[in-house]
Symmetry: C2
Subunit: 585 residues, 2 copies
C-alpha cells in the first residue's frame, strides 16, 4: 500500500503539470462536458450515463453510455422492472450522436427495447458479444435497427466525442471500459470489471491500454465500486473448475448446474468438465438456449455437437450420464430450476442421487428466494452445492478493493467518481481512494440528480439538478404504474381496502338505501360481521349530519373516510385504504 501511495503521489505531481500546462491542444474556455447519470446515482443496476458536450453553454453533442434495466425494490409491489428516466433527453433528441454499450448484461443493455423507440434512430455500438446479446433483444421487438459490433481496436466517432474500447475481465466475455476523448479532457468510463489474470476465455484485461491512457492524463474516471467492501483481489474464474469437478466425481445421479445465463465462459467450462466425466449435456431454459446458440455462432463457445442432448431424449439416458445446464440461479418462479425443485417440470424429476450446483450468489434482495429454492431441492434428498457451504463455487464478476485501487493508480485520473454501487459502496470507495492519496474533493459523489460540469481550467461543479422518476414496467404498461398506484398498492398490501358505496338518486340527490361496505385484505368478512355492521352505522352517522339532499359530495366523502378510518383504527389497529363511492342510480 505504501508503495502504491508513493507511486501515486509521483503520478499526481506529473498530472498536475499535464493539467495545468498546455497539453491539450483542442478546447477553449467555452467548452464544457456534463456527466448526467439517468439511472440515478447510488444505484447498482439501471445503468445509463450521458456525456453532454456544450460550447458556450449550448448543447452540441450527447453521447449515451449503456441503457439497462433495474430491479424493483420490495415495496414496488407488482412491478416487473424499472428503467432509466429519459425525460431529460426528450427535447434534445437531435443532439444524440450515439449509444455505446460496455457489455452484455441486462442492467446495461436491457432497457433498449423500451427506450430506443423514444430516442429516434441513434447509431448503437458495442463489443461483439454485447452487440449480439443486445440484438437478440431487439429482434423480439418491431425495432429494425441493430447494434453494430465493434472490435476492441476500433473507435467510435460520435460528434465531438471519440470513444475507444479497453477490454476488461468480468463475468461475461467482451466486457469493455471506454476511453472518451473530449475537448475538455479524457474521461475513462470504468464500469463493471475485475482483474482476472487467467480468465476462462484467455483474454485478459488490456492493462497496456490502461497504462497508456494514464500516462496521457485522464481528467475524470468513473469506476465500478460494488466490491469496495471486500479486501484484497477477487479470485479468478479458474478456481470454479476444481469445485465443479469435485461434485462430478462424487455424484452418482444427475448433475444440475446453474449460473447467470450470460456467463457463457463458465457454462463452457462446466460443459468441458461434464464431457470429460462421460456425461451428455442438455440446456434447460430459454435464456440459456439463446445465449449459447448465439455464442456458438460467433465462436465464443465451442463443443462437439454430439455431447449435447435434446431434453426430450433425457429419459433414455441413465441419470449418471446427464449434465443439465439449467436456468434459474436466482430462484425465479418461472424458471426451469424452480419448476424442477417444485415437482412441476414435465421432464426432469429430482431424486436423492442427484446433485445441484448453484454457481451464482443471490443478487441483493433475492436472498430469501434463493434460500427457499435450496430448501426445496433438499427436500428431494438431493445434494446441493452453494457458495455458503462450498468455497470457490461462485466468484464475483466485480473487483474487490485491490482491483479498484489497482485501476485507480494505473489510470491516475485528476478526479474519480465511483459508480454502480449503493451509497455505502461509494463511501467505502472514497476511503480506498484516500489511501491512495486522493483528497475528499477529488472523489466526486454527486447526490441523486445532481449534474456535474467539467471544464478545462476550473474544478468540476454542480450546475444542474434533474428529477429522476422511477419508470416502472408492470405487465404490458411502461410507466403507467406511477406513484399514486404504487402508494395504493402499498397501503392495501399492509392494511387492506374498504370500499363504501353510497347509492343516491341521480335527480334528487337523496340517499336511496343503506351504504354497503366491501372489504378485501382487511379482516375476514365472515368472521367480522359485528365490526362491519358497526362500521355501517359509523358511515350512516357521517352522512346524516346533513339531512335530505346531499350537495357537497367531496366533503361527505372526506367525512366518511375520516370517521370510518378513526373507528377501524380504534377497533383493529389497522388503517386500511378507504374508498367512498357515491353511486348515482
Amino acid at each position: 500500500m505504501k508503495k502504491m501511495y508513493l507511486h501515486n503521489q509521483a503520478r499526481n505531481a506529473a498530472l498536475k503539470t499535464v493539467f495545468e500546462g498546455k497539453s491539450f491542444n483542442s478546447g477553449t474556455g467555452k467548452d464544457t462536458v456534463r456527466i448526467i447519470p439517468l439511472g440515478g446515482s447510488g444505484n447498482v443496476t439501471k445503468n445509463m450515463y450521458l456525456y453532454e458536450y456544450r460550447y458556450d453553454g449550448k448543447i452540441k453533442d450527447i453521447l449515451i453510455v449503456d441503457c439497462g434495466i433495474g430491479f424493483p425494490d420490495e415495496e414496488m409491489f407488482g412491478v416487473d422492472l424499472v428503467i432509466p428516466d429519459i425525460k431529460y433527453l426528450m427535447d434534445k433528441r437531435d443532439k444524440i450522436r450515439g449509444i455505446v454499450f460496455t457489455h452484455g448484461h441486462d442492467d446495461h443493455i436491457g432497457g433498449l427495447p423500451y427506450i430506443y423507440p423514444r430516442l429516434g434512430k441513434v447509431p448503437m455500438y458495442a463489443p461483439t458479444l454485447a452487440a449480439a446479446f443486445a440484438n437478440l433483444k431487439l429482434k423480439e421487438t418491431s425495432i429494425h435497427e441493430r447494434v453494430r459490433p465493434m472490435r476492441f481496436d476500433s473507435r467510435v466517432e460520435a460528434g465531438v466525442f471519440t470513444v475507444s474500447f479497453v477490454r476488461v475481465t468480468h463475468s461475461v466475455p467482451d466486457t469493455s471500459h471506454l476511453i472518451i476523448d473530449t475537448p475538455v479532457g479524457i474521461f475513462y468510463h470504468g464500469s463493471d470489471f475485475k482483474f482476472d489474470p487467467t480468465p476462462l476465455d484467455d483474454k485478459p484485461s488490456e492493462i497496456d491500454k490502461i497504462n497508456a491512457v494514464g500516462k496521457k492524463g485522464v481528467l475524470c474516471m468513473l469506476s465500478d465500486c460494488l466490491g469496495s467492501e471486500r479486501p484484497g483481489f477477487t479470485p479468478s474464474e479458474q478456481i470454479i473448475g476444481e469445485t465443479i469437478e469435485k461434485e462430478l466425481r462424487l455424484s452418482h445421479g444427475k448433475v444440475l448446474f446453474t449460473t447467470q445465463s450470460s456467463n457463457i465462459s463458465r457454462i463452457q467450462l462446466a460443459i468441458e468438465l461434464a464431457q470429460k466425466h462421460g456425461r451428455k449435456i442438455a440446456f434447460l431454459g430459454r435464456s440459456i438456449d439463446k445465449n449459447v446458440e448465439e455464442s456458438v455462432k460467433l465462436g465464443y463457445m465451442r463443443f462437439p455437437r454430439e455431447v449435447i442432448i435434446n431434453d426430450r431424449d433425457l429419459r433414455r439416458l441413465p441419470a449418471n450420464k446427464q449434465f443439465l445446464v439449467v436456468a434459474g440461479a436466482q430462484g425465479q418462479p418461472t424458471s426451469n430450476l424452480f419448476r424442477i425443485a417444485n415437482d412441476a417440470h414435465k421432464i426432469v424429476k429430482l431424486t436423492d442421487a442427484d446433485t445441484v450446483i448453484l454457481s451464482a450468489d443471490p443478487i441483493p434482495g433475492r436472498e430469501n428466494d434463493v434460500n427457499k429454492l435450496i430448501d426445496q431441492i433438499y427436500r428431494h434428498g438431493a445434494r446441493v452445492s452453494y457458495s455458503d457451504i462450498m468455497e470457490d463455487l461462485h466468484v464475483s464478476g466485480h473487483g474487490s478493493s485491490g482491483d479498484m485501487m489497482l485501476l485507480l493508480s494505473a489510470v491516475g485520473p485528476k478526479y474519480v467518481m465511483p459508480i454502480g454501487g449503493t451509497y455505502k459502496h461509494l463511501m467505502q470507495y472514497r476511503r480506498l481512494a484516500a489511501d491512495l492519496g486522493y483528497e475528499k474533493r477529488s472523489v466526486l459523489i454527486p447526490e441523486d440528480g445532481e449534474v456535474l460540469e467539467f471544464s478545462k481550467h476550473a474544478a468540476p461543479r454542480v450546475v444542474d439538478h434533474i428529477t429522476l422518476d422511477q419508470i416502472m414496467i408492470d405487465g404490458l404498461g411502461i410507466g403507467d404504474v406511477g406513484n399514486v398506484v404504487l402508494k395504493d398498492r402499498q397501503t392495501i398490501a399492509h392494511e387492506g381496502i374498504v370500499v363504501v358505496v353510497v347509492p343516491v338518486n341521480h335527480s334528487s340527490g337523496h340517499m336511496m338505501s343503506a351504504p354497503q361496505i366491501i372489504t378485501r385484505g382487511f379482516v375476514y368478512a365472515r368472521e367480522a360481521r359485528n365490526l362491519l355492521s358497526h362500521a355501517g352505522d359509523v358511515v350512516e352517522r357521517a352522512l346524516t349530519l346533513r339531512k335530505g339532499k346531499i350537495a357537497d359530495w367531496q366533503m361527505v366523502k372526506k367525512r366518511i373516510a375520516e370517521s370510518l378510518g378513526e373507528y377501524l383504527l380504534k377497533e383493529t389497529g389497522r388503517s386500511p385504504l378507504i374508498v367512498p363511492v357515491v353511486l348515482e342510480v
Copy 2:
C-alpha cells in the same frame, strides 16, 4: 476429525449396551414420549416444543419448552408477527404440567402474552434473566401469573418429567439447555448456543454437566443447527471489544452504538470502554431502557450511575464526550436509530464528525432495510462501522459446525434432531453428524407437522401428522388475518383491485343504471379513461346476456369477473382482484 469419529464410535458401542440392556429401571413398553414442534420444523424462530408423555396410548403429561414469536415472511403483507399454532393443545389443557423457557430472546419468550391466556394457569419456569425479560412482557398485559426464576442447579418437576438446567453461552446471559428425564429415556433440549470459552459475563458453558449426561446415556438430543454452514468455531464475544475501542480512539464526534437490545453483556462492554475514553452514556430506545434497568436491578449489569446521562441533557455535553446506546440495529422504521438517520429525532442530529457502530448482523430478510439505514447514515458524512467492512464487529450467538460437533460428541445421543434452522441448515447438520459416525436414520428430520414417538425398545417413528397454521398478528387482532385475507392482499399488492358495482332495484331485481368501476393500485384512473370505459362495456355485455330481471346473481358475478378479467389481462398484462358487487337500492 478422525479422532472425534473414533471416540464417537466407541461411545455408540457403549450406548448400544446402555439402550439395549436394562439400564432404565423405570418405564415399561407402554410408556411413550412424543416430540411435537408447534412452531413448525425447518423454522428459525417461533420456537415452541411439546414433550408429551403417554401411558398405554393415553396422554398423561405435557411439558412445553419455549413460546416464541416468529417474523412474517415478505409475502405476509401487513402482518406484524406470527405465533405458534396451539390448536393441538386446546382439548389437552388439563394435561399441561409446565412451561420451561431456555432463554430470554423474543423468538423463545415473545409469544407468551398472546398464548398464555389460552392455556390456563400453567406454572412457568426460566433461568433468572430469561424469567425477568418474560415478566417484563407479562407486566404489560392483564395476566397476573409470573415466570418463576430458577437457578442453574435447580430442577423442575412437571408431571412425569424432571427438567434440569445446563448453562450455555449465547448472545444473552442465562441461556440454558434442558435435560429432560422421562420414563422412556433422557432428552437433551439443546436450543440456541455457542461454546464461548471467554464469555463477557465470565460464566462459561457447564461442560461438566454435558459430559455427565452424555455418560448416563441420552436417547435423543435436539440441537441448534443455524450455524451449521460455517466452518470451525464461532469466536468469543471478547474480540468485539478491540473493534469498539479502535472506533473510540478514531472518533472526534459522537459515537452511536447499536446491537440487539437483549445483548446486555455487549452493552455492558461498550459502556465500560466508553467510560474509559471519558465519555458519558445515554440510552435511546424503550427496549434498551427496560432491559438495562432490569439487568442492573438483578445485578447482571454494573456501572457507576454518574456515567449515565439523560437524553435531554445531551445538548449540554460536547459531542466527543457522548456515547449513545441506540435501539434499531435491524433498521426498524420506528426505532431511534432509524429516526436519527432520517433527521427525525428530536434530540440527536448526525454530523460528519460522528461514528455509528452497528454491532449486529441483519437477521435473514432484513438485509435491505439495514443496507438502506447504512446509506442513510453515510449521507450525513458520518463514519459507519458494520461487519461487512469491519471484521470482529459482530460475532454470532449461534455456534458454527465445530461447536455443534463438539456438543454432539460430548452428549453422544442415540438420536439427534437438528432444530432452529431452515431445511438447508438441517441437511447440513446431517452432513456434520455423518462425519461423526451418525447414520442417516439416527439423524431425525421430521417433515412439517410430523410427530415422532419415542419408546423404550423401538426406534422412533412418525405416529401422527398435525396441521399447523400461520397464526398472524396484525394490529390488535390475533389470527383474524387468515389465509383468505392474506391471499387478497397479495393479489392486490401485485396487480391491484377492481370493484364493479351494479345497482339493482331491490324489489324488481332490475339493473337501475350503468355499473360503476372503481380501481385502486391497478392503473392510474385519470390516465386510463379509455380502458375503464371499455371495461364498463365489457361488464354491461356480461350482464345483458340475460335481459330484464336477473335471478342468479352468483352466476352473474362469476361471469363479470371472468369476462372483465380476460379483457384486462389482454389489455394490460395484469390480473387484478375483481370484486363484483350487487347493490340493492
